[in-house]
């Protein structure tokens, strides 16, 4: 063997070793980074100030909660170690788990939690009710605090465990003292991941790093409760505006989990041996028809009923997906499959499309052909198809419908307008929601029926429902189901809004992903890559 040959061989061996080392380093780095292609971009990092779903999802990475629901909707302690409730149910005393720290290294104190509850209570409806019912919320030590009630309130723990926006996330006192109507500028939580603010590029990506000081609970992870362990060093939320590009990124292995794959590419993704397609959210979304109750013609219950008589849920669900596995008719206002989600719809009135009957109901209602403004968010992949079906049905029963088609942001602003249609108002429009709030009678915004100032968009006024909602708040757990049922029956009778079915959004992820938690909210603790 001459020197030249030896040298050439040495170079080749070195090259192979170097390439292998680089590949190993790259693979190790890749394994430690989880990439999630979110359906929407993270625009606001304060999950109390903003009620957007993605701000809440970001919150679950960074912050922790005092209590959390398990998969059976039982409230379980999270940051709280122990708690006691007085016999008269008016004094709740809490003790925090030892060793909890904020991302800046300072210990979590009871004063932090008190300030956080108060800030959340400024923005959240059940939080407002809790604050109103409470005589005092105070720290009684560095790791203990109390909520002392003036009147019974049956939902103290479930309010603190709630999953819908805004979630009562805990923040350091100095940050939590910011008004709920002012956005916080510093993201310091005590959750399993730290928000890497310097790497955040709105419209492109948000980065989270494992919080090494996080002390998970010892119980196994169960839905929102139990041990939350960050199993990857780095979590990247990327926003890919084009569905086709997002699907391509998943196929190419550039992202690990695609939250909302485009329905037309689902067969391609399903055929890939490395990809799993399924519904991670066990409940999905409900689409619904909201009426403006304060202006004619939908201030008239009979007119609203006529519209409900046009609803055949399959008709609305088919336009959202060809795949029958991804939707189910559901006639409960609280999402089928949830704790209160019972189907109590009176068969003779609802969910059987009967245009002749609807025409007769409309004729008997006194409707005289007044113009009906139907809102159409043309850039929304769920609302627009639903609007098209609704438009056809309204026309079919002889309503004088005018479609107001524009972008979703404009539609949302329009829906808050209380003026009559001559002054730019609206009459009817579809909406959708996930189960995080709508599965709880008191939190379901569309069921609020206190009229203008106390109800959500559409402003229905129904004293029976409001009385029941107030009773629900005070009721002990054993009585809550019966009250929830009565609220449903009143809502059906008064045609508060129309239910057009439950739609499960399929999600797609690479088979290398392990530990994904079934939930309406994308959760990242316990998630790892093979």
């Amino acid at each position: 063997m001459n020197i030249r040959t030896s040298f050439a061989r040495a170079v080749r061996v070195a090259g192979v070793v170097l390439a292998a080392s680089l590949a190993t380093i790259a693979a190790a780095q890749d394994k430690d980074t989880f990439r999630f292609a979110a359906a929407t971009d993270l625009r606001v990092i304060d999950p109390i100030w903003s009620l957007e779903y993605n701000s809440r999802n970001h919150g679950y990475l960074v912050y922790d909660t005092l209590f959390a629901f398990d998969s059976k909707f039982q409230v379980k302690p999270q940051m709280v170690e122990t708690w006691t409730v007085s016999d008269d149910k008016l004094r709740y005393a809490f003790k925090l788990r030892p060793g909890l720290t904020w991302h800046d290294g300072t210990p979590v104190t009871a004063a932090d939690c008190v300030a956080s509850i108060k800030r959340w209570g400024q923005r959240d409806s059940i939080g407002q009710a809790l604050i109103a019912a409470a005589g005092e919320i105070k720290a009684t030590g560095t790791d203990s605090f109390e909520i002392i009630l003036k009147e019974p309130f049956g939902h103290v723990l479930s309010a603190l465990a709630k999953t819908g926006s805004p979630v009562p996330f805990m923040m350091p006192e100095r940050i939590a003292k910011t008004s709920g109507f002012e956005q916080i500028k510093e993201v310091i939580g005590s959750g399993p991941f730290i928000f890497a603010r310097d790497e955040w590029m709105p419209g492109d990506k948000a980065v989270y790093k494992k919080f090494k000081g996080y002390k998970p609970r010892s119980e196994p992870s169960d839905f929102m409760s139990g041990g939350k362990t960050a199993k990857v060093e780095r979590m990247e939320w990327v926003f890919i505006p084009s569905g086709a590009t997002a699907a391509a990124a998943l196929l190419a292995g550039e992202v690990d989990w695609l939250e909302h794959p485009p329905s037309d590419l689902l067969p391609t993704l399903q055929n890939d041996k490395d990809i799993t397609v399924r519904a991670v959210d066990p409940f999905g979304m409900q689409t619904m028809i909201r009426f403006n109750h304060i202006h004619p013609p939908f201030d008239n219950e009979k007119v609203r009923r006529a519209v409900l008589q046009t609803i055949e849920q399959g008709e609305y669900l088919r336009v959202l997906s060809d795949d029958k596995r991804s939707w189910e008719p559901c006639r409960s206002f609280y999402f089928c499959g949830t704790r209160f989600g019972r189907d109590l719809a009176p068969e003779q009135l609802l969910f059987k499309k009967n245009l002749d009957k609807a025409k007769k109901t409309l004729a008997a209602s006194g409707y005289k052909g007044e113009k009906v403004v139907l809102l159409d968010a043309v850039d929304d992949a769920i609302l627009h198809p639903v609007t098209v079906v609704l438009f056809d049905n309204l026309k079919a029963i002889g309503m004088n419908v005018e479609l107001r088609a524009t972008d979703g942001a404009t539609i949302f602003a329009l829906m808050l307008k209380q003026e009559p249609i001559a002054q730019g108002g609206w009459n009817i429009g579809p909406q959708y929601a996930d189960s995080s709030n709508y599965s709880v009678p008191f939190l379901n915004n569309a069921l609020r029926a206190g009229g203008v100032g106390k109800a959500s968009i559409g402003w229905p006024k129904n004293d029976a429902i409001e009385t029941l909602r107030a009773a629900f708040l005070k009721a002990p757990e054993a009585e809550q189901g019966a009250i929830a049922d009565k609220i449903q029956q009143e809502a059906y009778a008064a045609a508060i809004y129309g239910l057009t079915g439950q739609y499960k959004q399929l999600t797609a992820y690479r088979k290398s992903v392990e530990g994904l938690i079934d939930s309406p909210i994308p959760l990242f603790w316990n998630v790892s890559k093979k």
Binding site: D41, R43, V44, I45, W49, S50, L51, E52, S125, S165, S179, F181, E182, Q183, K185, M201, P202, G203, D204, V238, F239, I240, P241, S242, A244, T245, A246, A248, A249, L251, A252, E254, D379, T406, D407, G408, A409, T410, F412, A413, L414, M415, L416, Q431, N445, R448, G453, S456, I457
Partner: protein
Amino acid sequence: MLAYIVKRLLATIPVMASVAVIVFMLLHLTPGDPAALIGGDLATPEDLRRIREQLGLERPITEQFLGWLWQVLQGDLGTSLFNQMPVSQLIAQRIEPTLIIGLTIMTFAVIVAIPLGVIAAWKAGSWIDQLIMTLAVIAFSMPIFLIGYLLIFKFSVELKWFPVRGYQPMSAGPAKFFQHIVLPSLTVSFIYIALLTRMTRATMLDVLNQDYMRTARAKGMATPRILAVHALKNAAVPIVTMVGIGLSSLLGGIVVTETVFAIPGIGRLMIDAIIRRDFPILQGVILVLSALYVLINLLIDLSYSLFDPRIRY
């Protein structure tokens, strides 16, 4: 020339001011309310008022405009209503990918299109000319997003030669940088190659039919020299104009490519801001883009004198 440049730069001030006023007024007349998006469907009028107050949207529109103008004059483009980041920082993050990809597209288009246009003009009426023109029509007619997706599925998903999405700056390493700009640049290049080819052919045909071209040929000058030195130089002014206009329109119009390849560029920043009614971002982006347009036009005008000695400033 210096006096001309100063005069042109001064002339941009009223242009920019007009753009600022029009943009501001148009945006505030557009329906849609950022406070509604933040407040959610349960927001009471009082909640919305408080959110608007915090965002500064409760003030009279003239007061908002004058406040914004004063900020801009001090070099501050404001803060995003949603993410609370300075608009100048957001623009700085986003302008680089758009500029780099825009310049790459135009460079590639110039390198390919001008020779093609010259050849087509030189061989006017022949099968070569017809082939080039047919390809140009096809390239111009293809939707950008279709080209983009075809390239992604072939070269990223199947062959895995290039990444599907994103942008990497030069600081991430030349290999990563080039990998990320190849497909987006190629996608849009087709259209600009087609445009420039047709433009070059038309202007070259005009020049080639001039008497001095016949004289050059009669004196026995070699064809390459006639085409490259005499003809192309005389056809350069409209071609340069086209390149400049193309680059200007690319900066604001690259949004489809940025969307297809998930590139965090200025076009997507602008579209996101429109959807969210994030007024400070929109105002800032449009102001910066207007300034760039003015600058590019000035550079085009100045370049004319390089090609045509009769033009003096």
